[in-house]
């Protein structure tokens, strides 16, 4: 057989080189994965221990029998379904708001010219440069004056008014899209809004997916903002509930329960990330233009 006869030549062929490269990539990635995953392994291992096993040295890696009950406890200690629902509402509305407001604004900044545009852009960017700790107090007083404290509004509404980070990110991507497409569409009589919606948006799936993942993870994990603005226990989110597993400065956490809760909490963003990868493919429209 031909393949058989020339193993020493195989790596010189194009296919062979590709295979070899893939092999090298897999080896590097595997080694890195081990480093990345070890802490997670420890986390899951701890989440399956009895309270007394947490303290053993050297540590037990495979608790036997695994205490699946820790997960039940972590979920039943708090009204988990209610918190999951609150989280869904907040994360969902924030993600939609961010996508809409940021992609609109970014298009304006990337493609259209208007007096003062660059000043506005730098102003926008500068909002990222001031530490949040010092704007927290005036912002709280503002939302308090609006009567929003205690409701979801301080968490959701700002998302509909753009975020400098995502506007900047999307602007960068829009700037790389060839202008010919828009020029052609303009000649066909499309308005700027149609161009934004039917050309720019579909062309930027990878960045949109990035924005969705970032917004989701950021909002999902944020426990500080809800703790500051929400008062009612029935309005808590999953991240907030997690922060209650920490104990206090003196009375430490029940590590096994905390780790069980943390493990559960990383599942939804992980699922989202896997789903979002479908949109991580090179521009669908892009290939269409060629022909």
């Amino acid at each position: 057989m031909r393949v058989h006869t020339a193993p020493h030549v195989f790596w010189r062929t194009r296919r062979g080189q590709a295979r070899l490269a893939s092999l090298a990539v897999v080896i590097i990635l595997l080694a890195g994965s081990v480093l990345v995953l070890i802490p997670f392994f420890w986390m899951i291992s701890t989440s399956l221990k009895q309270a007394s096993q947490v303290y053993l040295a050297p540590p037990i890696w495979f608790p036997n029998p695994p205490q699946w009950g820790n997960y039940v406890q972590a979920v039943t200690r708090v009204p988990f379904h209610l918190y999951a629902w609150n989280t869904t509402i907040i994360v969902g509305l924030v993600t939609i708001g961010t996508l809409l407001s940021c992609s609109l604004s970014a298009y304006g900044f990337a493609r259209l010219s208007a007096p003062g545009k660059n000043t506005i852009f730098m102003l926008l960017l500068s909002t990222l440069m001031l530490p949040g700790a010092v704007t927290l107090v005036p912002t709280y007083l503002l939302f308090n004056a609006l009567g929003w404290v205690g409701s979801f509004l301080p968490l959701i509404v700002p998302a509909y008014f753009g975020s400098a980070f995502f506007i900047f990110l999307m602007r960068q991507f829009y700037l790389t899209i060839p202008r010919e497409l828009e020029e052609a569409a303009t000649i066909d009589g499309a308005s700027v809004y149609q161009i934004w919606w039917s050309i720019m948006m579909p062309l930027s799936y990878p960045v949109l997916a990035t924005v969705v993942v970032f917004t989701f993870v950021g909002t999902y994990n944020d426990f500080f903002t809800p703790l500051i603005y929400l008062t009612d226990e029935s309005k808590r989110t999953i991240a907030v509930a997690l922060s209650y597993f920490q104990g206090s400065p003196r009375i430490g956490p029940q590590m096994h329960l905390l780790m069980a809760a943390v493990t559960i909490s990383i599942v939804p963003p992980l699922i989202l990330f896997v789903l979002a990868q479908r949109y991580f493919v090179r521009g669908i429209v892009m290939t269409g233009i060629k022909g």
Binding site: A21, S33, V36, L37, I38, P39, F40, M43, L104, S105, Y107, G108, F109, L112, S113, A114, T119, I120, M122, S126, T127, L128, M129, L130, P131, A133, V134, T135, V137, P138, T139, L142, F161, G162, Q172, F173, L175, T176, P178, R179, V192, W196, P206, A209, T210, V213, V217, N221, F223, L242, S243, M255, L258, M259, V262, L270, V274, Q277, G283, M286
Partner: protein
């Protein structure tokens, strides 16, 4: 402020009036598109920013009304040794962690851009660390960096090196936090990955035909074609690194002996623990000016190294 990326001049000969009318209409559209951002600035962000600026000239403890005290906070700040210490810590951290983070993120993105089976799995693994919330992360890191049982020192021992007791060692605590920052590089990596998706495959095919090697392809195609995301990651990396808070606050608490006292930790303490909010605002505005200066520097330099498809010379 200067135009970082001037829009290409429209060099079509038309009557001046028609051009002006077109510009006028375009500007209206532009404002409509930018409306969410502009309104957001007006409603939610500029007000609190200005307020914090004014508060930096007051004696304010959050509890009671602020009292004007002129430049006293700024005067005190420049004479506070801990302020300078925290500035040093933040600067050292940024200078090392930003370039390192960019290189590692780009390297990972390149590997993860490889077309092969199982790549989805790997991408998820490397993104995983950014998904976990702050509460769990601190525990993980303290365990990882433990002098005796920490996995890092176990690995080092494997190659015959006796690792330091990272988080309790003045010299190594900051290094530990820089290493920790690499673990969270998944976000930057994802942005690079999104950038890599936008490079037309034809470019590589053409280069291949021209006989360009892999390195040549990387420097002449990949790097320029993702320079717009590199630019983004650099700007946001600098902004983020100078404000890094959670890691230092939850993992080392600023210690040992202030070795990891980041500016943001220093100002948080003053704002919410020492009841010196006015002073914290002054620290924040000094930090703001530093970040702004650096950002402008990066923007100024961008025409030298950032390449946008839509600005290809001779395009219009």
């Amino acid at each position: 402020m200067d135009t970082p990326h001037p829009q290409p001049q429209i060099a079509v000969r038309q009557s001046a009036r028609r051009a002006s009318r077109r510009r006028h209409i375009e500007a209206i559209h532009a404002y409509i598109f930018m409306a969410p951002a502009i309104l957001g600035l007006l409603f939610f962000t500029l007000g609190p920013m200005v307020a914090s600026f004014l508060l930096s000239f007051t004696d304010y403890n959050i509890l009671t009304d602020p009292r004007w005290n002129g430049l006293a906070n700024y005067d005190r700040l420049f004479n506070d040794e801990l302020f300078w210490q925290s500035l040093r810590v933040s600067a050292t951290y940024s200078i090392v962690s930003v370039p390192l983070g960019l290189v590692v993120a780009l390297g990972l993105a390149l590997l993860l851009n490889h077309k092969m089976r199982g790549i989805l799995f790997f991408r998820s693994v490397y993104y995983l660390p950014t998904v976990i919330s702050g509460v769990g992360v601190a525990m993980l890191w303290r365990w990882l960096f433990n002098g005796d049982y920490g996995i890092i020192n176990i690995l080092l021992r494997g190659v015959g090196v006796r690792g330091p007791n990272w988080l309790f060692d003045e010299t190594w605590a900051l290094v530990a936090l820089i290493i920790a920052s690499l673990w969270g590089v998944g976000g930057t990596m994802l942005i690079f990955l999104a950038g890599l998706q936008g490079i037309p495959q034809e470019l590589y095919e053409a280069a291949e035909i021209d006989g360009a090697g892999r390195w040549r392809q990387f420097t002449s195609i990949t790097l320029p074609m993702i320079s717009h995301v590199t630019f983004f990651n650099l700007v946001l990396g600098v902004i983020g690194a100078l404000q890094v808070f959670t890691e230092a606050y939850v993992i080392t608490g600023g210690g040992p002996n202030n070795a990891t006292l980041f500016l943001s930790v220093y100002l948080y303490r003053h704002a919410f623990q020492y009841l010196n909010f006015g002073y914290a605002a002054a620290v924040a505005w000094v930090l703001f000016l530093i970040v702004l200066a650096l950002t402008l520097l990066v923007f100024k330099s961008s025409p030298l190294w950032v390449y946008y498809e839509s600005e290809r010379p001779g395009r219009n």
